[in-house]
C-alpha cells in the first residue's frame, strides 16, 4: 500500500480519521489538541509512508503514530504545567490582565463536550478525571478496548506489549475506575 498515492491516502483518512480523532480526544481531553494530533498523524504518515511495512495493518500503524503523538503532547503539557507552577504570581497577573500564556489558561482541559449529550454530567466528569489520572499505558488500553473494540492482541501490537500484559493493564485500570467511582458515590449498580 502506497500512502503517497492521493486516492489511497484519502481512503485511509476516511476509514481511520474518526477513530484516531476520538483516540486523541480521549487521551488528551482537549478537542483542539485532538485535531492537531489527527492532522499531524496523517502528515507524518505521508512523509514516512516508506517506513510502512507491506503486509502490516495500516490501522495499527496509524494508531501507533497517533498514540506516540498524544504521549508527546501529554509530556509537553506536564512540563508546561510544572513550569507554570514555578511562576504562579506571573500566571495570576497574566490571567488578570487577559494576556495569560500558561497552559491551563490558554487551553482549559475541563470542557466536556460529549457530556452535554447525556443526563449524568457528574458521572461523565468523574470518569474523565479518573481516566486522566491513569498512567499513560493503562489509559490507552482502556480507550482502545472500550471505545475502539480492539482485541488484546491488536492493543498489544500497537503498544508493543503482549496480549496478556494488555489484559492486565485493562484489569488494573478498571479496578481503579471502579473504586474511584465508588468513592465518589457514582458507581453504577450492576447485577451479574
Amino acid at each position: 500500500m502506497n500512502l503517497r498515492d492521493p486516492e489511497t491516502f484519502r481512503k485511509a483518512y476516511e476509514a481511520h480519521s474518526k477513530g484516531l480523532f476520538n483516540l486523541a480526544f480521549r487521551l488528551l481531553s482537549d478537542r483542539q489538541w485532538a485535531e492537531d494530533v489527527l492532522q499531524e498523524t496523517f502528515v507524518r504518515a505521508f512523509t514516512r509512508a516508506d517506513t510502512f511495512r507491506e503486509g502490516g495493518q495500516v490501522s495499527t500503524w496509524l494508531y501507533r503514530i497517533c498514540m506516540n503523538l498524544c504521549y508527546d503532547h501529554l509530556r509537553a503539557r506536564k512540563y508546561r504545567m510544572a513550569a507554570s507552577l514555578d511562576a504562579p504570581a506571573q500566571a495570576a497577573s497574566a490571567a488578570a490582565d487577559g494576556s495569560a500564556t500558561t497552559w491551563a489558561a490558554v487551553l482549559p482541559s475541563d470542557t466536556v463536550e460529549p457530556a452535554t449529550e447525556i443526563a449524568d454530567r457528574d458521572a461523565a466528569i468523574c470518569v474523565r478525571r479518573l481516566i486522566d489520572e491513569l498512567p499513560e499505558r493503562e489509559r490507552t488500553v482502556v480507550v482502545l478496548r472500550q471505545y475502539h473494540n480492539m482485541t488484546f492482541q491488536e492493543i498489544g501490537e500497537i503498544l508493543g506489549l503482549t496480549a496478556r500484559t494488555a489484559q492486565n493493564c485493562l484489569r488494573r485500570a478498571k479496578d481503579k475506575l471502579y473504586f474511584g467511582l465508588k468513592q465518589a458515590g457514582l458507581a453504577p449498580a450492576v447485577g451479574m
Binding site: Y13, T47, A49, T51, A123, V127, I131, Y147, L177, V190
Partner: protein, 202 residues
Amino acid sequence: MNCERVLRNIDDHVDGLLPAEEAESVRDHLDTCRDCRETAAASKAASTSLAVWGDLDPPSACFDQIMAKIQALPPETLERGAARNARRNVAPTHRRILRWAVPSVAAAAAVVVAFVGTEHRAPKSARVPGAGPVAASAIASPSGSRAMLADGLYPGYERVHLDPNAWLQGVRRSDSGTNQLTRPRVVPAAQFSDGGVFASPR
C-alpha cells in the same frame, strides 16, 4: 473452570466477546464464586461508566488542512524520509540485536581489559634489565606481562600451562601493596595466543 481462568476471561465476558460455550462456563462459575462475581460486577460497572463518552466527528475541514500542510512541506523532507529508510534497510531482528549487542560487547571488553590490566601489573620488586620508559609501560599491559613472562623477566614466577576451562582464581594483595597471584589464573585465549599461559609463584 477455576478462578484464574475466569479472571483471565472476565473482561471478554463482561464485554460480550466470549464464545457461547465459554460464556456459559464463566456464568456457572460466577454463580458459585463470590469473589469472581464481585470482580465481574466491578468490571461491568467500569465499562458502563465509560459508555458516557460518545464518539465525536473530526472537523470537516481537517482533511483540507492536512493536504495544505503536506503541500507546504519542503521537498527535502520526503527525500530525508527515503534516505532514513534506506539506512534502516536491515532486517528488524538484526537491527534490534545490533542495537544492544554492540554496546554490550564493547562494555564487556572494556571491563575485561581494565580488570586484566589492573591485576596483572608486575610486582614492584621486578627488575627489568635495561628498563626505560618503554619497558615500564609494557609491564602495565597484559601483552607486556606476557612478553616479560616469556623472556623470564618476572623473578620468582614461572610459566605454567593452564586448563582454559578452569574457573578464574582469586588474587591476594601482599603486604607491600602489590597484587600477587596466589593461584594460577585463566586468561582468555584471545589475549594469550598460546591458549592460556600465565605465571604462578615458585
